[in-house]
Each structure stands twice: as C-alpha cells, then as structure tokens.
C-alpha cells in the first residue's frame, strides 16, 4: 500500500512538473485551472489572461496546472502548496473543497479561490456582484426590445442564478417600467447546466410569447438559447465571459465577470504585500463586473443605449441605484 502511494505521489509530481517550465526554489504564485483548461474561451481563459498580464508586468513566473478530471483538484492544490507556491489560486466553485483542505494542511501558505467563498484564515475568496452586471444588460435588453417583452433563461434553480434573474429584471424595469420579463429555469438538478436542447425550447417558447431579447445565465444550456435566438432572428445576451463572438449580430452583449481582474489582483497584491484574506466582493466599482462592447456587437448598440447603460453604471457606482441582491434575503422585490 505504501509503495503504491509513493508511486502515485511520484506520478503526481511528474504531472505537475511537466506543467511548469521554471523550477525556482523561491516563492512563486501558482494557479490551478479547472476542467476545460486555460484555453476554454471562457472562465479559465479569463484567469489565464489575468495571470499572464501579471507575468508580463512583473516578470515573475508562475506555476500552473490544468485539472483534467475532478479527482485531480485536491491533489493539484496540495502539490502546489507542497512545492512552496504562494499564493495558490483555485479557479471556480468546484475547487472549493480542494482549496479548503489545502488551506488547512498548509496554514502558512496563502490560498485564493474565484467565484466561491471558503472560510479559512489563509484563504482569499473572490466573488462577484452578478446582480449589478445583470442590471446593466437588463437595461440594454429593454432598450433593444421592439415588443417590450424580454426573457431570461437560468440554468439550475439556485440562489446564485436567482441573483442574476433579479438584477436583470430590475435593469429591464429601470429602463422601461412597462416591460414584461419572462423568466424560466432549465431545471433543478446539475444536468440543467448542460441541456442545450431544453435551452433552445425554453427560448423558443419565450419568443413565441413575444420576447425578442433573452439573457441566458445557464452554462452550456445557454449555447442552445443563443442558437435559438440566431435561428429565430432575435437577440441573446451572453454571460460570464465575452460570448459576443459566438454569433455576431445576434449576441446583443455579454455580462462579464472579470475573472482576469480577479486573478491579476490576487497575484499582484500577494507580490506587493497588500494581500488580505477573507471575502473580496468585486462589483462595477471594483471593475470586477462589466458588459461587453466589441467589434461583434458595436452595430447593435445605439448611442442612446450606450449612454443609458453608462449612466446606470455610474449611478450604481455612485450608490444612486441600489441593485437588490437576491442572495441577501432570498427574495426579489417586485
């Protein structure tokens, strides 16, 4: 048994070693990408962009590992800590338990996790004010709609997704008080994140009822929603990363969670000594949340829409508009 363990350990070292180029003995930050890998054109790639920016600016190298299956998460995090990496950054809520165990086993190492809260004295948890970003895309949706009816398709019915929904509804009503919002959840089990067929059907049912812009916060299910929007000649709004490139002309905009900013800040603050453990909430004010405007959707956003959304953004930052956070009381005031 012991021998087996040694072999397992050795192979893990080997795996980790192949993933890094430099083998400096001094403290080096480390990042553990999650399933999907660093070029997934989504969440992980955002983190990759952030840490690359850090590397280019400071010249400091970092260790990295791409998790290929769920059992590697904990192993990878521990290995990074064991090799003297600091801080160790975990990507995505799925790594929460790995980071928690790692943080307990290596109390002198600093850890960070994006998109989840881990309550340990040496962990920095970075979460986002999704409701603020959803508010902004809600404003855009209401202004782009010709019918005054817009839709929302959520993934699994959990408080986090209700937070998107609630912020979005507020944004829509802010821009057009008489607007109707159709909101649907795909399901109540994790398979709701990967059901593009159902996503497309939910979108079609909302289009049939008159909606002409749909915001999907539904992971892979959203792909079906965007496709349905394209097939029916309507608009869709992407989420998390910039998804405008998926269907130029159909994607009105995307609500951005700036994981690149989060990753950059963590590494940067750790290197200059301003790093703090505990919960960091990134919203519009901190530049952690935004909406996407690029060459793929520039023609869809009129100057009036841009002005309105910029104003809403400024008002939220200034505290003139308070966007309700569903997760604060599990309610969405009408």
């Amino acid at each position: 048994m012991k021998k087996l363990l040694t072999i397992l350990n050795a192979s893990a070292v080997l795996l980790a070693a192949t993933a890094t180029v430099a083998l400096a003995a001094d403290k080096m930050p480390a990042v553990v990408f999650d399933m999907g890998g660093k070029f997934d054109k989504s969440f992980n790639q955002g983190v990759y962009d952030g840490v690359e920016k850090f590397r280019k600016e400071t010249g400091m190298k970092y260790r990295e590992f791409e998790v290929k299956n769920p059992t590697q998460r904990e192993q990878a995090v521990r290995k990074m800590a064991q090799r003297g990496s600091d801080p160790v950054l975990g990507v995505g809520f799925a790594q929460a338990s790995a980071i928690e165990k790692g943080a307990k086993a290596f109390p002198d190492t600093r850890f960070a996790i994006i998109d989840m809260v881990v309550m340990q004295p040496n962990v920095q948890s970075i979460v986002f004010k999704e409701h603020e970003g959803s508010f902004l895309v809600g404003v855009l949706a209401a202004m782009a709609s010709k019918t005054g009816k817009v839709g929302f398709v959520g993934g699994m019915d959990i408080p986090l997704i209700r937070r998107f929904e609630c912020g979005y509804i507020h944004g829509v009503k802010h821009a057009m008080a008489s607007a109707t919002v159709y909101a649907n959840m795909t399901g109540t089990t994790p398979s709701a994140w990967n059901d593009p067929t159902k996503g497309a059907e939910l979108a079609k049912s909302q289009f049939d009822r008159g909606a002409d812009v749909i915001f999907a916060a539904a992971g892979g299910t959203g792909i079906g929603v965007y496709q349905a929007a394209k097939d029916n000649g309507k608009y869709a709004i992407g989420v998390d990363s910039n998804q405008n490139h998926l269907h130029p002309g159909t994607m009105l905009t995307s609500m951005l969670k700036r994981v690149d900013v989060a990753a950059y800040n963590t590494f940067k603050s750790a290197s200059d000594g301003s790093w703090k453990s505990g919960i960091q909430v990134l919203g519009l004010k901190e530049g952690g949340i935004d909406w996407a405007l690029d060459e793929h959707n520039r023609d869809l956003i009129t100057p009036a829409m841009k002005a309105a959304v910029d104003k809403a953004k400024a008002d939220i930052i200034a505290g003139k508009i308070m966007v309700h956070d569903y997760m604060s009381d599990n309610k969405c005031p009408k």
């Binding site: 890998g37 997934d40 290929k68 649907n184 496709q227 097939d231």
Partner: protein, 324 residues
Amino acid sequence: MGEDFLLIILTFDATIRVSVPLILAALAGLIVERSGVIDIGLEGKMLASAFAAAATAYTTNSAWLGLGAGVVASVLLALLHGFACITHRGNQIVSGVAINILVSGLTVLLGVSWFSLGGQTPPLTGDARFNSLTFPGAEAVRDVPVLGPIYSELLSGHNILVYLAFLTVPMVWWLIYRTRFGLRLRATGENPAAVDTAGISVIRMRYLALILCGILCGIAGSYFSTGHGAGFLREMTAGKGFIALAAMIFGKWRPVPVLFACLLFGFLDAIAIRLQGVEIPIIGEMPVQFIQALPYILTVVLLAGFIGRAIAPKASGIPYVKEH
C-alpha cells in the same frame, strides 16, 4: 381564439422537435429487444454519435458527413455491445451501462483534447447543420385560418431528420410485421431455439438487429448536435435514452404505440417548458419543481393505471446458448 390556437399549434410544434430523438431511440430499442437483446446503452450511443457528428460536421463543414460519422460511431458501439453480450454472452445490462459510462467520459476527453473548449465542439453554422426546410407556399398560407398555421408552423419548417424520424415508424412497422426478416427477428426474441432449429443463425439475427439499432441511434444523436442544436456539449442527451426505453415499454414493443408514447413524453416536456412561469387561472403560477416533475408523475400514473401489463419479448435479456 386565434392567439390561443396559435399557442396550441406552437406547443405541438415543440412536441415534434422534442420527440424526434425519442422516436428514433425507442424504435432502435424496439428492434434489438425484439431480437432478444436488452440495450440500456441507447443513451451512450446517442451521445457518442452526437459528438462524432458535431466533430465531423465542424471539420468538414458538411452535416451529411457528420450524420455519417455519427451513425458509424453508434454502430461501432452497438457491435461492441454485441461482442460482449452475444458473442461472449455477457450480461446485457452491465454491457449497456458500461457503454454509457465510457461514452460520457470519452466524448469530453476527446472534446477537450481536440477543441480545447471544455468538452464542447465549436458552434456549427451554415452547411455544418441540418437547416429547416420550408415547404412551398408555407409563407403564403400562414394567414389562412386554422389550416394556415397547421401547415406553416406544424408541418413545415423542420429539418430533414425530423421527417426522417416520422418516416422511420412505418418503415420499422413494415420491416417487423411484413418481411421475412421481421418474422425471424420476432421469433429470435420469443423463441431463439426454434429459430435455430429452422436453420437460421440466432447470433447473426441479433447482430443485424444491433446494427439497425446503431443506425437509428446514430441518426438520433446527430439530431442533437447538428439538427436541433448546433454543436456538441457534454452530456447533451440529458437522459433521453432512458426516456426512450420507458416509451418503448409504454408502447409494448410495437412501433405505432411507441410513436404515440414518444409523442406523449415529448408533449409533456413541451408543456412543462411552456407552463413554466405562466399564470394559470385559479391555481396561479406553478412552481418550477412541480412543472418539471409533471412528466415523471404522469409516467408513473399512466404506467400504473392505464397501460396495463407490459410483456417483453420472452427471450429478451437472455444470451442464446446453442447446446444445453
């Protein structure tokens, strides 16, 4: 009235779209079970062909080549199932489950290493997908009362795989009840020893049934990624293979009742999608959870109360041994 009528038509329209993979997979299951092989692996075969179709269609920019690749992938898995449980008389359930698990992991693994998109394939556009066919005159008759919407919404505007799926029903019926092959197939599932005595190879019959099953599952899987959707996503078949099995039992292993069972499941799914968040008189807004449980509740109720005993082909699930 006009508004409500259109809504009903659109719900039926959604029913058709959702039912297609169910119909194809249930008929696939029907054919193999009629030959005496249980196939739990419908789900896995569809998932594999969805991936193969999307990957090929993306690379070659041809939906037809994608369909071909999907069918090949699915037939290969069917033959693997046959190799395990016909040639080697392995447990058919275990083999089917193993295929499901294998495919669930393999598609993501290949997807990650080929496309680096977290197990997805890139979205398909243009010719890489089966686009909707619009029937002649569909736009012109749209405003004709009653018949207009039925023609332009319900009948026209689907992709070719949808029509193919509905065409498969009479074809399978004819194959099973009106051909020599069908007679032998049914006999193989009921009494393989008698078939063997008549000088027909049970093993060959069962392999042929599995190949047919693979072809149908391949079309169903391709529909997911190149027909209804546009690209592959991990676990995108979302349990449809198991629903198809239920529909097959519902329809008592007969093509036409199976078609109606699939349409019923599809209809419940479509209703569930459309009822969500809609205010219903007296009851008010239905909770999401209840709406989503509705198809399953109805399945249990119908199965317990209305369908009666479903009797499987007698030799289903039993490997054939030539000499005792």
